[in-house]
């Protein structure tokens, strides 16, 4: 059984690392610091889960989400939007764009861990 691939998209290096160490399972990680890089990587690695920041240089994380939802090859990709914009409308925008889940910053590392495990389901 192959290990699940997690793509972490955030322009803050310290937060990317925080997400990575929060997930103790044996995952394969890919990291993107901006929207363009994220789009490149989802097409390249077909991640199982994308942890997606909204406010990134070069474009909103929601454009990455839209890109994922448009690509039939990525129909099984789960997307968790993790945003410091935590108003209801930001939550709704993420939901409307096709996010599977929404976490607001600051987030609890253990909550992130269990959420990812839950999204990956019995595969692991």
């Amino acid at each position: 059984m192959r290990t699940a691939t997690i793509l972490i998209c955030d322009d803050e290096p310290s937060l990317r690392e925080l997400m990575r160490i929060s997930l103790r399972q044996d995952y394969t990680f890919a990291e993107a610091a901006d929207a363009a890089e994220a789009i490149e990587l989802v097409d390249a690695v077909h991640p199982d889960v994308v942890l997606l920041d909204v406010m990134m240089p070069g474009g909103s994380g929601l454009t990455v989400l839209e890109h994922v939802r448009k690509n039939p090859a990525l129909k099984d990709t789960r997307v968790v939007v993790i945003s410091a914009f935590a108003a209801d409308r930001d939550h709704l925008a993420a939901h409307d764009a096709g996010a599977n889940s929404f976490l607001k910053k600051p987030f609890d590392p253990e909550e992130l861990e269990s959420l990812v495990e839950q999204l990956l389901g019995p595969r692991n």
Partner: protein
């Protein structure tokens, strides 16, 4: 006003003409009456003359005294009959002369014929009854009758002429009267049309305008025309509508300002919470993990360092927000020190280079030193803000060109990037606090405070700040500060 006066004049004229026509008619009637009087007097005189003739001849033929009494009675009736005729024809010269001739002829008949004939009869009956005497009488009476006939005929002609004239006058008067009535009626119609046009319609127009204003259309204006009173009314109306409109516009502008500041407030809350949540996410996340899990010594130290860095970032964010407050309240406190900008430009550039591996920062200063008098930390804050913006808004990396130049008494610092630039429509507002243009939508984090605070700091130093930007090609931000007088010796290095 003028219209009604005109109408009054016209109606008065109409009645004046009618009165003249009626007076003509009346004088025509008077003439007719006089004519009748003349005829009556003539016939009366004729009757008296006949009486004289008949009674005289009857007496001479019969000798009956009774006829002599009739003669005497007729003689007595003659002068008043003649006088009455003369009185009635006094105004007509031709008739008057006929009447005078009649008076003479009747007088002659009595005195030259009648009275002598009676005297002759009493002397010799037969002589008085002689054909000569009889013939003389008949001749005289006949002449009188002819004269009377002429007078009567002339008067009849005159009378019929007058009657015709009177009829004409009457017809004319009726015609004039009818015409006057028609004209007056037409004028009344015209006047009511004028009233409708000049008064009723404008009043309706004002009423309709008022309804429109009441319904909320404050742009309603009425044409200022018509009589002076109406003009006054419409002018007052328009002034009222204008004042209402201006009042409403002022209110709307105030409302718009309130809405804008409300939007700005919402935006501010969103920005502040976003900017605070990002470092908080690191601090809380790492500390939570450190408390719950065991890490190696090196990792632990690294995570603690991250917590520390992010804590400081949080602190400086709070400081930035407070700065705005201080700057706005005019409570910004500047140190007064001699600062050389040259080393400052190089040091800050090196710091930012470490954090932006995809950018190359190039610094060139065209003088040995750029000495200014002011607060080195604040100037560094401004410069650092321009550098941070240059990095942030050129996400694909590239060259950041910093130049320091001396221009007369002014030192100038410019930071040029090859980034996304600023849309033309946002350029006028970029020094407005919390204004971020499309930065948020484009994924650029920030508070929208950096440039607003920078401008306050530069201006507090007596300097200027500005920029040039080409959307898609990059921006060049600069600030200028007065150079310190040359006698000031360079003694300190900032920071």
């Amino acid at each position: 006003m003028v219209g009604s006066a005109g109408l009054a004049v016209i109606v008065a004229g109409t009645f004046a003409v009618l009165l003249v026509a009626m007076s003509d008619l009346r004088s025509s009637n008077n003439a007719q009456a006089r004519s009748k009087d003349v005829s009556t007097a003539t016939l009366e005189l004729e009757r008296v003359v006949n009486e004289l003739d008949v009674s005289l001849r009857s007496f001479v033929v019969s000798g009956n005294r009774h006829f002599l009494a009739d003669w005497q009675k007729a003689r007595a009736a003659l002068p008043p009959a003649v006088a009455r005729l003369e009185q009635h024809v006094a105004a007509q010269p031709e008739e008057k002369s006929r009447a005078i001739r009649l008076a003479m002829m009747t007088h002659d008949y009595i005195h030259d014929y009648g009275v002598p004939l009676i005297a002759i009869y009493q002397l010799r009956h037969e002589a008085a009854r002689s054909p000569v005497a009889t013939k003389e009488g008949l001749f005289r009476i006949d002449a009188i009758h002819k004269q009377l006939g002429t007078l009567l005929a002339g008067e009849n002609n005159l009378a019929s002429a007058r009657a015709a004239s009177a009829k004409r006058e009457a017809t004319r008067a009726v015609g004039i009267g009818v015409a006057e009535l028609v004209i007056t009626a037409a004028l009344l119609v015209l006047f009511s049309v004028f009233l409708a046009h000049g008064v009723v319609r404008p009043v309706r127009m004002v009423a309709a305008g008022a309804s429109r204003v009441a319904a909320g259309d404050l742009s309603t204006r009425l044409p200022e025309q018509g009589s002076p009173e109406l003009q006054e009314l419409t002018e007052a109306f328009n002034a009222m509508a204008l004042s209402l409109e201006q009042g409403q516009k002022a209110l709307e502008a105030q409302n718009e300002q309130l809405r804008q500041s409300e939007r700005l407030k919402t935006e501010l809350v969103s920005i502040v919470s976003h900017e605070l949540r990002t470092p908080l996410a690191s601090i809380l996340g790492y500390s939570s993990l450190l408390l719950k899990r065991a890490f190696g010594k090196d990792d632990t130290r690294r995570y603690l360092e991250t917590i520390h860095t992010q804590g400081r970032r949080l602190a400086s964010l709070v400081e930035e927000f407070l700065d705005v407050e201080r700057v706005e309240a005019g409570r910004i406190e500047l140190k007064e020190e001699l600062v050389d900008l040259r080393p400052l430009l190089e040091e800050e550039a090196e710091l930012i280079s470490n954090e932006a591996p995809r950018h190359r920062v190039h610094v060139s200063v065209d003088a040995d030193s750029l000495l200014i008098r002011g607060d080195g930390d604040r100037i560094a804050q401004v410069y650092s803000n321009l550098l941070t913006n240059a990095v942030k808004y050129s996400p694909d990396g590239g060259v950041i060109e910093v130049t320091g130049t001396v221009d007369g008494l002014v030192g100038r610092v410019q930071v040029r990037d090859e980034g996304v630039g600023i849309a033309d429509e946002h350029q006028p507002r970029i020094f407005t606090k919390f204004f971020r243009g499309e930065a948020r939508e484009s994924g650029f984090a920030g508070t929208g405070l950096g440039l607003a605070v920078s401008r306050e700091i530069v201006e507090a130093h007596g300097g200027r700040i500005g920029f040039r930007s080409v959307p898609g090609a990059g921006s060049a931000f600069w600030f200028e500060l007065p150079l310190a007088p040359t006698e000031d010796a360079p003694v300190s290095t900032p920071r």
